[in-house]
Amino acid sequence: MGLSLVEKLWARHCVADLGDGTDLLYIDRVLLHERTGSMALKGLKEQGRAVRHPDRAFVCMDHIVDTLPGRSDTTIMPGGTAFIHETRAAAAEAGIRVFDIGDDRQGIVHVVSPEQGIALPGATLVCPDSHTCTQGGLGTLAWGIGSTEAAHALATQTLVVKRPKTMRVRFDGALPPGVGAKDMILHLIAAHGAGGGSGYAIELAGSAVSALSVEARMTLCNMAVEFAAWTGLVAPDAKTIDWVKGRPFAPKGDLWDAAIADWQGLVSDADAVFDKEIRIDCAAIAPTITWGTSPQHAVPLTGHVPDPDTAADATAAQARRRALDYMGLKAGDALVGLPIDGAFIGSCTNSRLSDLRAAAAVLKGRKVAAGIRAICVPGSMQVKAAAEAEGLHLVFQAAGFEWRESGCSMCFFAGGEHFGKGQRVVTSTNRNFENRQGPGTRSHLASPVTVAASAIAGHIADPRSFLGEG
């Protein structure tokens, strides 16, 4: 019997079998940010323990830093400066590199790491952040952990991990126009539930995944955690190798040749057996948007808010009722045409150059509707610079979008900026939880093109009516 990609990566990182399905795994890269990484570094220091390989750990300042032009260590989030200062000092003391405010490599950790060549195909990578699975888009075995686990990884370069079950999700067929990776993953979660991937490492495969750009594969993997998966990943291919080549921390020269020779073998064997397989026909995927407060509360954009009474069970029905109440909606409401107050393009889900290009194609020559607060936050300062080199910032600004410095920004609310109570926001982020983007804020998750189209229309709008014109 052949092996799946996850099983191959597992085997090559296994330091010791600890029994009962648990292994000690070798960790190639540890990433940290000022929100939770600070706690990992503090924990180690309190225990008097050292970081074993500081050269393979990296800190990004992304969660708490402001994203307004002219930013400094002072933050809109109350008390944020202390997080920044403590993280910076602890990293310096441990000898860990920091992509700090003012550094032209600064940005959201899951955008920066692939972009800098820190995440590599076949490597293991952890970060005390649930969206670490984003980096699976490169074929990295990357997963989110807690701060205590991060301290363990820093001190030992290993983690004790339970072997996950394996799942393959095959997306086959051609994606209809206006449909992208964000719609694919929302469609999957809507069909199989926010708990559908629980206990699994998921390989995302199939002809439609092969056809995606590397950046889009990261969007797909980003929301594996919203599917409750342990992680998600895509087997590396020629596109991945091209994408990684020449990045600052990627191998060079002979080491590069050795690396790409190794990466060729990083595929699931033809006769690999998965604990579960799901097949999705991409022709059936429409632009998708959430109506409620769980990523599973997603429907085709042209659809309607479902009736709680049609939910699978009483618990799901109750959750739908709560969601309707929070979102200010009722069963049967159409999504298209629902007036919005805000539009947000950013986050580790959809803030890479290809996302900004796609949104800009919709925005070009158009204006955001009156009264809509529209914000674009590039995922990294590198993305921002690349976008500006193409003039994308001018398109966003001319349309009426704010054009920000990079960071997590209003993807989540930490006491700083927010859209406000009851405000309805179409957002390219990954979580529509209650209060995620601010107390009482109503978030509708969608692709960057749907966000752009909605910003122009002033209500939830179908991006397909904006494509190919303008």
Binding site: K42, E86, T148, A155, G195, E226, A316, G415, N435
Partner: protein, 202 residues
């Protein structure tokens, strides 16, 4: 780490699906680089009708006098999904919750519980639902060594837990200390691993 062996206490029902860690501890309640005092912010958006002034919402279950000091939470499926923030566990711990019983957990949250002396206990959904919907507050006895939950009518509900997690909780182990005992094996592995994958090293 605080050990978990046996616990008898009232179980507070919070049987909702997909309760995420943002709900358990909202980001703005994580005010310092510290674990201290997070209990006050636990479930802040549900627990307070006016969060800023800490005005309690009398309808929220943990504000009912009978459940205020409950050390056990009866939760819905996929409890603790979402953000990896360990602050969610530190908040529960600071508040006094020692055991969460649910049909399933978010994976990172479940790991975080075990590393902080909180037992994430999995029971089938109908059992949790029945306990949560009981007309009176349920006094439960959770015995980790025996892997059973005794409910008020005397029934023992068995549960399974990964042996490594069980040991960690029963012994209150320091996970880093345990792994560091394997340092020679890690060093051996590193040597051959580096020879095979030199491109992963700087």
């Amino acid at each position: 780490m605080q050990k978990f062996t046996r616990l008898t206490g009232i179980a507070a029902p919070l049987f909702r699906a997909n309760v995420d860690t943002d709900a358990i501890i909202p980001s703005r309640e994580m005010k310092k680089v510290s674990k201290e005092g997070l209990g006050e912010g636990m479930f802040a958006d549900w627990r307070y009708s006016d969060v800023a002034n800490r005005v309690e919402n009398p309808d929220f279950i943990l504000n009912w006098p009978c459940f205020r000091k409950a050390p056990i939470l009866l939760a819905g499926p996929n409890f603790g999904c979402g953000s990896s923030r360990e602050h969610a566990v530190w908040a529960l711990q600071d508040y006094g919750i020692r055991c969460v019983i649910a049909p399933s957990f978010g994976a990172i949250f479940q790991g975080n519980c075990v590393r902080n002396g909180i037992l994430p206990l999995v029971l089938p959904e109908p059992s949790v639902a029945a306990l949560a919907q009981a007309a009176t507050p349920q006094l439960l006895t959770v015995d980790l060594a025996a892997q059973s939950v005794r409910v008020p009518d005397g029934t023992e509900l068995p549960f399974t837990i990964a042996p490594a997690d069980k040991e960690m909780l029963l012994e209150g182990l320091d996970a880093i200390g345990v792994t560091l005992k394997r340092l020679p094996a890690i060093r051996d592995f590193e040597g051959s691993y580096r020879a095979r994958n030199p491109w992963l090293f700087f």
